[in-house]
Amino acid sequence: MNMNDIMSLIPLWILSSAAILIFFSISIKRNHKVIFVITVVSLLVDFFFLTGYSIKHLQPVEPLLIIDGFGIFNIGLILLTTLAVVLISYAYFEQREERKEEYYILIILAALGAAILVISKHFASLFLGLEILSVSLYALIAYLRKRERSDEAGIKYLILAAFSSAFLLFGMALVYAATGSMEFAGIAAWITQAHEMPMIVVAGFGMMIVGVGFKLGIVPFHMWTPDVYEGSPAPVTAFIATVSKGGMVALLVRFFNTLNGYQYTTFMLVFTILAIASMFIGNILALRQNNVKRLLAYSSIAHLGYLLVAFLAGEKLGMEAVIFYLVAYFITTLGAFGILATLSDKERDAELLEDYRGLLWKRPLTAIVFSAMLLSLAGIPLTAGFVGKFYVLAAGIQTHRWLLVIILVINSVIGLYYYIKLIAIMFDQKQAARTSQELHPLVYIVSSVTMAILVLSLFWIGVNPEGMMTLIRDVIR
């Protein structure tokens, strides 16, 4: 490991040291504000380092990691998303009695895991990143100990994640046994050489798909999503929905592209089936859901299905579409859960549909932002979600995946129903009796500014996506 390697890993160092710094800071004095500031600053510093230095020094760190444009972009995305989650979290946790400071350690570690995940090019780093992410998430999910549901969600996630990790690991072991390499490139080289894939490798990849599919929350590995979304604190849900899933998508893209997986019709078939099942089952499950968190969980299943359509389309446009969709989905999901978090109170999160009745008249801006997010999820123009969906459709059509594309359209329509149902409730003339107790207004400023930035970028990307498109195109090249 030379100096260059060390330099290029600085973004990871910063995150780890931030975690340690907070750790020490807590042992000196518990102060939510200070911890919060440390977290925000370290995330920002990391981001600026990334964009200032790393982007100019692209290189692999043999044998585990690779710092390339794609990786940098994804780390940047993860950092910003984490930042947004942290910003939302402040107000959310301020009104709760539990110890809030460790939360920031955990979330920074989770971000670290995701960052490792997206730049890994080796099974070992993949595994490490994944597990750092997962273990942090177990604790994050169950963070609000006093809620009965949080430990239920935690244990469910833990058992299932470990269970699926076992599949992933076993799959890796099989692949390794056959190919003798744990580097993606090495495996790819071996397969190219071998002409035909032996059964053991196929089985290995198959088992790895289980592990990956679980993290992505696609059908039939989706069942944890609603329960975990419901049981976790709203900011954590946002984090799971974005960073955890997005990191896995990025990894999948890298792995598949390195292996040039598009030539293996078997795996394409598997993913096609998973995509179709995810779209249908996710959307249909959401139809009559009364819990907003669960509704968003089901909708996320469907959205991952949409994403798989772009993924399956492959080629350059497909990759661009995947990334763009991810960005749009990140913004939208953060926005949605951000609103949910701001509306939550000490006892419980604002998760019932009834909590939103007549919101437009009570808190018009909040309602409009939430509507914008929902419309973006539904893929309505003026929002980033629309351009994302457009991108996905374009990718699908370019490679003639008509079946997928038409199923996507059908599902968009089904999905529309529950998004507008939620909007309709917010626009209802009756108002919910529930009013959340008000904290000091300053507390909300952070959240409000975050939401404002999110909604502005939502519209900005929706109306003028050219910049984002160029950026993504550069990154992929």
């Binding site: 244990i155 469910k156 058992i159 299932l160 269970f163 699926s164 599949f167 059964m199 196929v202 089985a203 990849f205 198959g206 088992m207 798909i209 289980v210 599919g213 679980f214 059908v219 039939p220 590995f221 989706h222 069942m223 944890w224 609603p226 329960d227 019709t265 078997t266 795996f267 394409m268 078939l269 598997v270 089936i273 089952i281 249909i284 499950l285 139809l287 009559r288 089904i414």
Partner: protein, 628 residues
Amino acid sequence: MIKLLWLIPTLPFLSALILILVGSRLSWRVAARIGAGSIGLAALLTILVGYEFLSSGKDAYLHVAWNWFQAGDLSTTFAFYLDSLSMVFIFVITFVGFLIHIYSIEFMQEDEGFSRFFAYLNLFVCSMLILVLADNLVLLYLGWEGVGLCSYLLIGFWYSEEKNGYAARKAFIITRVGDTAMAIGLFMLFTVFHTLNIQDILTQAPLVWTTGASMAVLIAFLLLGGAVGKSAQLPLQTWLPDAMAGPSPVSALIHAATMVTAGVYLITRMHIVYELAPLAQLWVGIIGAVTLLIAGFSALTQFDLKRVLAYSTISQIGYMFLAMGVGAWSAAVFHFMIHAFFKALLFLAAGAVIMALHHEHDMFRMGGLKNKLPTIYWTFLIGAASLAALPFITAGFYSKDQILWLAWAGEKGNLWFFLAALTGAVVTAVYTFRMVFITFFGEAKTKISHVPGMRITIPLVILAALSLLGGFIELPHTLGHLTLFSDYLSPLLPSVTLKEGIESTEWAIQLVTAALALGGVYFAYILYVKQPKLSDEIKSSTFELHQFWFRGWDFDALYNLVFVRPFVYLSRINKNDVIDQFYTGLVQITEYFNTAFVKTQSGILRWYVMGIVVGAILIMTISLFVQP
């Protein structure tokens, strides 16, 4: 002066506009002056224009107001075309119309919708004038539908009665059925000639078609469809008797004198097409013959004074159709004019009677009015005589005799037409005088509540005079041979070629006609004055037939059964739109799936583990065993 032709329809239109917009604020005197005055001016103008037109010796005069619309090949103008045929019509429309307006001022004086009435009536006159003056068929269609609208509005004038509204809608819808046929006829004409200008079509038709060309026949039939609708001929005659729900002046103007003869105008106007389509022309005659009999027999059984007249109108228009069927164009137009006089007279007089008897329509509850309403009685009698075609003195005799004669002697005539016309003549005489005897003779059964004033009697007298004298402008060979009217129309409408060697029978035919008319009157006299019991016996012995005729040969029932009820039924059962069920079904299927899928989210951890295992097995199976 002829340059002012455009003013003739415009005046009534303006008057209608004023009355619609501000009518409710005008006193009845002002409204009456505007309403009737505009028609009076139009009538005056008509006479001046007519004088100039006749003295100019030209065949036609065209006034283009503006280009209406032009797209693709289709080019239509808003233009008025005056020739001898339209001259007759606008004369009748404005002149009779004016008399009826005068009459209406008194007749409608008490009505709260006074100005509305005059607005509609003026609008009607305007539309009717456009109809007969139109230089192209689209404009004619405008007038055609316009009169339909006014007819609808006026039949349902007393709108708070449900049945009036029903009658109005019935009239509009049934005539619309005919109009549909006519519209299709226009489409076909346009396809053939690439124009809808009447004169262009008429000039080109003989060049394009040979006699009997199937296209010509088809088009002629379609136009005939429009004509039978408007003129209440078989099979679309059923609306006219119900149309009597409107005020009497309306019945007189629209449903006797003018609108219902629009069909006659249309066919006469397009006579060149019909000459080229002998089959269609024959059917014009057949329809006329059958209608005049059916309507005549129905008229025999009615007890509502106005319904008798309505059936009589259908029957008399049947005569006109018969005339056109044998190619006796000018005879048809002549009968139209005379009919307009006497039928307007009869309706107005009947209206006066009805008004006098406090809106009593039933003839059998009238009676004995001969002495109490002498003016009405005498004018009604003259009208009746003209309708029954009492020989030599009445105008009706001359016009109808001409038709009878040509149905017999004309080249296209035949024995059946003649017999039908002859039977019709007897029946006409019987029902006409049945009406006269029942209404005016015998003893009074209802008290008189209103004695008609000058505004009612003067139009009656004028019309009565015309009903008597109007016939003398056209006299048959045997009686002076005066052909003013047919000469006047001759450049436009060809005369009938007679069968060879048949002239000699003319006097015999006339004699028979005259005798039968008189015989009919005598028969009615016996039945309804001398031995009223006899009529009751006849009635009871043939009760079924009587009722069948009374119901207008059950055409209404038939149409209800075949068209109206299925339509309404279909419409009713599908009120909630069966197609929507399909989409509801889709939603239900999705909801069913939702219910099924939600069960999988049981919340039980092991169940979720099972999900992953199943997924793993599925993936392994596909990866290992399925080779796409």
